[in-house]
Amino acid sequence: MTETTTRTAPDSGTEVTLPVQTDQLRLATAGSVDDGKSTLVGRLLHDTKSVLADQLDAVHRASADRGLATPDLSLLVDGLRAEREQGITIDVAYRYFATPKRSFVLADTPGHVQYTRNTVTGASTAQLAVLLVDARNGVVEQTRRHAAVLALLGVPQLVLAVNKIDMVDFDEAVFTRIATEFTEHARALGYRYGTVVTIPVSALHGDNVVERSANTPWYEGPSLLEHLEQVPVAPDPHDAPFRLPVQYVIRPRTAEHPDYRGYAGQVAAGVVAEGDEVVVLPAGVRTRVSKVDTPNGPQPKAAAGHSITLLLEDDVDVSRGDLIAAADSAPELTDELDATVCWLAEKPLKPGAKVLVKHGTRTVQALVTELSARFDEQELSSVDSPDALQLNEIGRVQVRTAEPLPVDAYADSRRTGSFLVIDPADGTTLAAGLIGVPLAPFAAG
């Protein structure tokens, strides 16, 4: 909905436009150090008037303290002491802004190679990623690496912001060369036409960030914000088969509800309705849904993304960690995972490692039996059969689990096709795991 109202701000007397009801886009930023990500995010917040007066005052004060002539908008987002001291972004920050057309959750991720794991964090739930390059440097190794990681994680939409276009005199030829090179790379990773957009911007001066710039008359595409407002948001796949990882069994045992036994969870994929035949995995018991209960009372059906409580016709044994799935298209049950992992820990991965795998709501012991390939991070082509995976490297592994897991391919379901690899000794999250092959499945589909 794009209905709006206007109000007068109580503390300044100015008229502001308020969104009434909006849909939401989750996006992440990525790019090399010093490409200006924080400045771009600061500019986006500033120019959409999402920065309130006291926050802006704080930036003006801090910039003046640092002896800067103009306010440094990156100070709006670099919130940690060490970030402000070093002028770099260390960890993901989440930002919220809204326009009358849409509301946005933005994960601002760091560009340092050693923080690629945070790019993975930001991108795992993103529907769109904005990659930055410096117009003077063009597509660099880090750009190709980030694009590959975004493709691997199935981020459906990419934007390449060719930043600092003012530093190359708003030269169309420079932009075209970078845009062509990047688009070719993205296509090789599986992104189709229409899922990659390139925009010449100056985050520092605001060209093509919110307003289209008069300095780039040769560019006829949308400004960054215009694109973010209109890009189709990929909904959770409702046509996929139904999946519900069971989180918790709700048994009130009260006088009012003596026999209530409900299986609580968030629908990971598909739709479930009263009367549907389902199978409880790993046991494989079939039954029917007797009631779909929700936080707002019973409903005839529920879809992906909804937190619900399912009641079943038969008195079957179901507990946390089980998966309730559509009976006619249940996932494969296997204790041999063939998966791609993004290794996120300092400690390298070696074959024979004993780990924990968290898939859905189930955590099981597991053994990494084989490290079959390490992928070139720029192209995701297989390069060798390595001895180990180091921090931020991506590889293909075979994992044997102590108990069988009901898994889907990541390409079919981001939720039931993903898992965490956890260190059993100290609980550290070691890796992001994706069942299946490392190509941009959503973009290619």
């Binding site: 109000r7 701000a9 109580p10 503390d11 300044s12 502001v16 308020l18 009801q21 909006t22 939401q24 309130l52 007066a53 006291d54 670099d78 940690l80 002491r81 260390i90 920050a93 989440y94 930002r95 945070n118 964090t121 795992s124 932009f175 845009a179 062509t180 036409y193 229409g194 990659v196 390139t198 040769w218 560019y219 595409g221 209109q230 189709p232 909904p235 989180q247 918790y248 709700i250 048994r251 009130p252 009260t254 509800h257 209530y260 968030q266 936080p295 909804h306 937190s307 968290k358 859905g360 709501t361 939720r415 993903s418 898992f419 965490l420 956890i422 100290d426 609980g427 550290t428 999250t429």
Partner: protein, 316 residues
Amino acid sequence: MTAIDAEVELPGDPQTDAPPQVDNLDALESEAIHVFREVAGEFDRPVILFSGGKDSTVLVHLALKAFRPAPVPFPLLHVDTGHNFPEVLAFRDELASRHGLRLVVASVQEYIDDGRLQERPDGTRNPLQTTPLLDAISENRFDAVFGGGRRDEERARAKERIFSLRNAFGQWDPRRQRPELWNLYNGRHRPGEHVRVFPLSNWTELDIWRYIQREKIELPEIYYAHRREVFQRDGMWLTSGPWGGPRDGEVPVVKTVRYRTVGDGSCTGAVESEAYTVDDVIAEVAASRLTERGATRADDRLSEAAMEDRKREGYF
């Protein structure tokens, strides 16, 4: 148009290709309920940190919904600074008893009275909450502590994960946060460590108020406009009271005000407001050019990284 632009046209007509509208509040509610259930499934002794403010009241409301028709399987923990508004304490007690929730209170005043904590020269007690909070966590062996913190509140909060591991000293290390992937939350921790959990991470102040409106959630009356004796200090309207005001030279006046946040009386300011209802508040918050903390929290003004520094020590 360049050669590249020809390749980047969006497929189809955005008008007809648009997916069905997703209600933002439903998505936020579903995410928060998912987080509550994960914690109930994986931890032994969770607790909900409850201040009586709007965010923690919404938190309790969501917990009730997450486990209905069963009761909430967690107690509440309130860190009472000794400078709380009487209306808020009455609201706290009434809410706990109405829903049959056990209430644990950690008292800053007790710590000051027996010498374990010293009053600060500026009289603010917010930073003093950390010690009683960490003691209560370790004495009760709480292993997961829900907080109503939102990432839109403050720059350091914007960096916080939904599951945030604290070491045995309750400390947060922003450089060593676990990656948080998809909606798979890793709650593993060693004995003595605990996890702070923030189900409202992705909510904004406006989302909170829209949800309060939709769900008809009751709040302490200080959130709505009322007549109150206040005095001005550092550009903020503070309520006159036993927490140290007005001092010499500070003139008490009666004004129509409301509170945007509820915290320690010594450092939480009121805003002049005619917002008597939830609808009025939503209109006011949506149009405000000041953040809730910028408008009403003195402790965040202490330094550029005040919140981060307190969080590192174990504060929320």
